[in-house]
Amino acid sequence: MKDDIRAIVNTSVLAIYETLPEAPPLTLSNDLELFGKQGIFDSLALVTLIVEIEEKLQTKLSIDLLLANEKAFSQQHSPFSSIERLVDYIFANVDQEKDSGK
């Protein structure tokens, strides 16, 4: 499951990155900073990325998840700061949904 989530995150990051004007070639890595001082995305692109990932989780894995929830905003380190954090965050949420029987 985690590999599927990682694949969705990677594809989505690339898809949104490609829409940015004059963006230099991008090499994906787990610690790639998505949002923040060195982040590749501004806030608008980050919102688009979140929407893209939510849609892919729903269509490809039948996972219905709101990524920008209260938990995301209350965490000390933003789950949207790097690819690795985002994958871990989604995986943890999916796990929790399963445990709660949703």
């Binding site: 608008l44 688009t48 929407v51 893209e52 849609e55 729903q58 269509t59």
Partner: protein
């Protein structure tokens, strides 16, 4: 991809919502409607969903189905709403919650989920419903007017947040129209209200659809965050 415009309208079982659905069906749109109960009318290009727009899972499922079937959404008309006239001292909490849930939360949820789909195509038009009760500060409509003031404010902020995605968000504020919504309002109250309008008559469905047509036009891409009140109410 389908050539017809894809239009989602809430509250289409009866009244203004039903009339708007039929108006846009006549214009060749594919219309998706919803209401808490089943519709007693049908059309080959109309699809009805039964559910509560204040229920997040219903709204998410509705938009998921819409995306699966049509792959995009061009227009969202947030018509569904409930009204009740009560003196504030006689307003039950449950009624406040119900009005807030349907009028504000329902509108918000539909805007949020629709905008996700619209953003992908860098195009969308959202029209929300407010009311002349907001600028007229009508007695007996404290809660109804407050929920609709919230919708106005929501529309203005969403206009800014969604402008970058090619989505416009506007609101229309109708005067009383002869529908079930005002059935229980005493005649003298309605007359008093009509007298505060520059043009002192009931609104017609065509008055409302005319404003919405304007907001939906391709040429209205530079019009967002606006509220148009009917009847000359300012």
């Amino acid at each position: 991809m389908e050539n017809k415009s894809i239009t989602l309208i809430s509250g289409t079982r009866k009244g203004i919502g039903k009339a708007l659905a039929q108006h846009y069906l006549k214009q060749g749109h594919r219309v998706i409607g919803c209401s808490r109960r089943a519709a007693d009318w049908s059309h080959p290009n109309y699809c009805h969903y039964e559910g509560d727009i204040a229920d997040e899972s219903f709204v998410k499922t509705l938009l998921f189905e819409l995306r699966k079937k049509h792959h995009r959404l061009d227009y969202l008309i947030n018509n569904a709403g409930i009204a009740s006239m009560n003196h504030c001292l006689l307003t039950p909490t449950r009624l406040v919650e119900r009005m807030m849930q349907t009028n504000f939360l329902g509108t918000f949820l539909l805007c949020r989920e629709a905008a996700k789909l619209m953003a992908k195509h860098q195009f969308g038009r959202i029209v929300n419903f407010t009311t002349v009760a907001v600028p007229l500060h009508l007695e007996g409509e404290a809660v109804y007017a407050a929920t609709k003031a919230a919708v106005m404010s929501l529309s203005q902020v969403l206009a800014k947040e969604l402008g970058g995605y090619g989505i416009t968000v506007n609101a229309v504020g109708p005067t009383p129209v002869k529908t079930d919504l005002i059935r229980a309002v005493p005649e003298e109250k309605i007359d008093k209200l009509l007298n505060q309008q520059a043009i002192k008559r009931f609104g017609k469905l065509s008055d409302i659809s005319n404003v919405i047509d304007f907001f939906l036009k391709k040429e209205s891409a530079f019009i967002t965050g606006q509220t148009i009140f009917l009847g000359g109410v300012v």
